[in-house]
Amino acid sequence: MTLEQILFLVFALIGLGLALASVTMRNLVRSAFALIGCLFAVAALFAMLDASLFVVAQVAVYVGAIATLIVLVVMLTRLEQQERIPQTHRYWPAAALLAAVIVAGVAWGLWQYGFFDQTPPALPAADPIVELGRALVDPEKFLIPFEAVSVLLLSALIGAVLVAGGANKKERTE
């Protein structure tokens, strides 16, 4: 086993463990911190895939996003009352079963079609960041998605602030 593989396994185990912790913990703030840890592990895997931009994007965006989430959780729910009520539906075994079936199915498929010996080709000499930037502004490639993303973000911004900000006006709590 090479060092790279060992590192992969370490990050994968950390990631899965924290993901499990995040979906099972009763305390939602801890659960959110576990989610952040899991996303860091995934960022490490991105780094192993040479996807530099996504390593930093993952950290920058998700920490911001989940910090928001934590703030929200603390704002909305009292910890004491939150920990007392059950955190899962009564039919959670069905959900667990469904998830297990999906994972098993993918594993079986991988086994059948044998991606097990696929190794990565050499990276092209060009810097992927520059290539990505070029692809985003090239009208023959991804210009439309690029502009569509800005419209998506615009609508998300307006929608989110409209929905949450409207409630903000009615009630003023400190």
Binding site: I70, D127, I129
Partner: protein
């Protein structure tokens, strides 16, 4: 002898090779050594920085500052550190233990991590990431996370309040900071910090785009939570903010992280806008470049200390308004104009292009100032001020029209 760093690394490489160490292992040893050296020198620098800041602030306030321990009080910080280490290590029993222990570690990592990519000289740096600038933004969020963690895990109202102010402040100001960092990236066409320094051949980006540099400085000042943006730890309002429950060396770690972060802001300002290690003769003698870089960084740090000693703290609503209603729109307009001008004049000479960029900066700055003064006079004419006794200080930065609207 022009390049101290390459000479030393060659020499060490020779020793390792003659000792029969395979090159892979040698490279690992080098990487670990480099990382260790960078991190440790960063932390040791803090000792000096604290002394420096205390001396400078003391001089500005017509005092002498630390002068007892060692020559010129140089060892004062060491004595303080010794004291902090010997203090009782208190963990509040009500705290969330894991997160409480993790928070100061994250705060330090979030700052030390920045030094992995900062080029100290042409041949001396940790690593040259092709996403260096975004890496800075991403690593900076670790500090935010640490503060949030500290505030929440302490189970203390003031700590939580401080942590939430952090979310509002740090998160808000990282937007103009990121937009300001976009300017050097755009002008140089690369995100690697070494590449950005390389591109400042002849013209520093701080000269071509002084407004972006100023916005970067202000936003970074807010991100490091120093005066006038020290709302996170406003002593008179929320005791000490997120680290109320921390004591001894755990508190010391937050403290060290803050000081190192302040100096790092100076270093980043130097790299992104002041040409990094560039200076006369620096391309031939990288060792000289390191000196230039250090001088520029300290100049930036001195500026930060100066601001801290001079300006009063601003109110939280003023702070957020200033970020979202002044800095961010100004940066959006500035970037748009700069890109178009820069691209349109791509073929022309360096002087014409940079002069045009400078002109755009001046125009945008003039526009912002005139708009600000207009809205300020409006808000003075309208219902003035908010509830008294809220620790409001007169501040020149305020003056957004909405404030009057909100108060009425």
């Amino acid at each position: 002898m022009g390049d101290l760093f390459t000479t030393v690394s060659n020499w060490l490489n020779g020793i390792l090779a003659e000792a029969g160490i395979p090159p892979e292992a040698a490279e690992w040893i080098f990487a670990v050594g480099r990382a260790f050296l960078l991190g440790v020198s960063g932390l040791l620098l803090v000792v000096f920085l604290i002394w420096f800041e205390r001396k400078v602030v003391a001089r500005m306030q017509d005092r002498i500052g630390p002068n007892r321990v060692g020559p010129y009080g140089l060892f004062q910080t060491l004595a303080d550190m010794l004291k902090l280490v010997l203090k009782e290590d208190m963990v509040p029993p009500q705290a969330d233990k894991i997160l409480f222990h993790l928070a100061p570690v994250l705060a330090v990592i979030g700052v030390v991590g920045l030094w992995a990519v900062i080029p100290l000289a042409a041949t001396a740096y940790g690593v040259d990431l092709n996403v260096g600038v975004l890496y800075l933004a991403a690593t900076g969020t670790l500090g935010t996370l640490g503060i949030l963690m500290a505030g929440w895990s302490s189970r203390n109202k003031f700590a939580l309040l401080g942590a939430f102010r952090t979310v509002a402040q740090l998160v808000s100001y990282s937007v103009p900071a990121m937009l300001a960092m976009l300017v050097p990236v755009m002008l140089s066409g690369t995100m690697s910090l070494a590449g950005i320094v390389a591109a400042q051949d002849g013209f520093w980006f701080g000269v071509a785009a002084p407004l972006a540099a100023l916005v970067f400085l202000i936003a970074s000042l807010a991100e490091v939570a120093r005066a006038p943006f020290e709302l996170l730890e406003a002593e008179s309002e929320i005791v000490a903010g997120f680290h109320v429950e921390y004591s001894g060396i755990r508190f010391g770690m937050f403290f060290a992280a803050e000081f190192l972060h302040a100096f790092t802001i100076g270093a980043l300002l130097a790299v992104l806008f002041l040409g990094g290690w560039r200076g006369p003769g620096a391309a031939e003698f990288p060792t000289l470049g390191a000196l230039y870089f250090a001088a520029k960084s300290f100049a930036g740090y001195f500026l930060l200390v100066w601001v801290r000693a001079t300006l009063p703290r601003i109110r939280i609503d003023q702070m957020l308004d200033f970020c979202w209603k002044v800095l961010t729109p100004a940066m959006i307009v500035l970037i748009g104009a700069l890109v178009l001008v820069n691209r349109a004049l791509a073929g022309t000479s360096m002087w014409v292009r940079n002069g045009a960029l400078l002109g755009v900066n001046v125009l945008v700055a003039a526009g912002v100032i005139s708009l600000l003064s207009r809205s300020q006079s409006q808000s003075h004419a309208g219902a003035h001020g908010r509830a008294p006794g809220k620790g409001a200080q007169p501040c020149a930065l305020a003056g957004m029209g909405d404030e009057a609207e909100a108060a009425s």
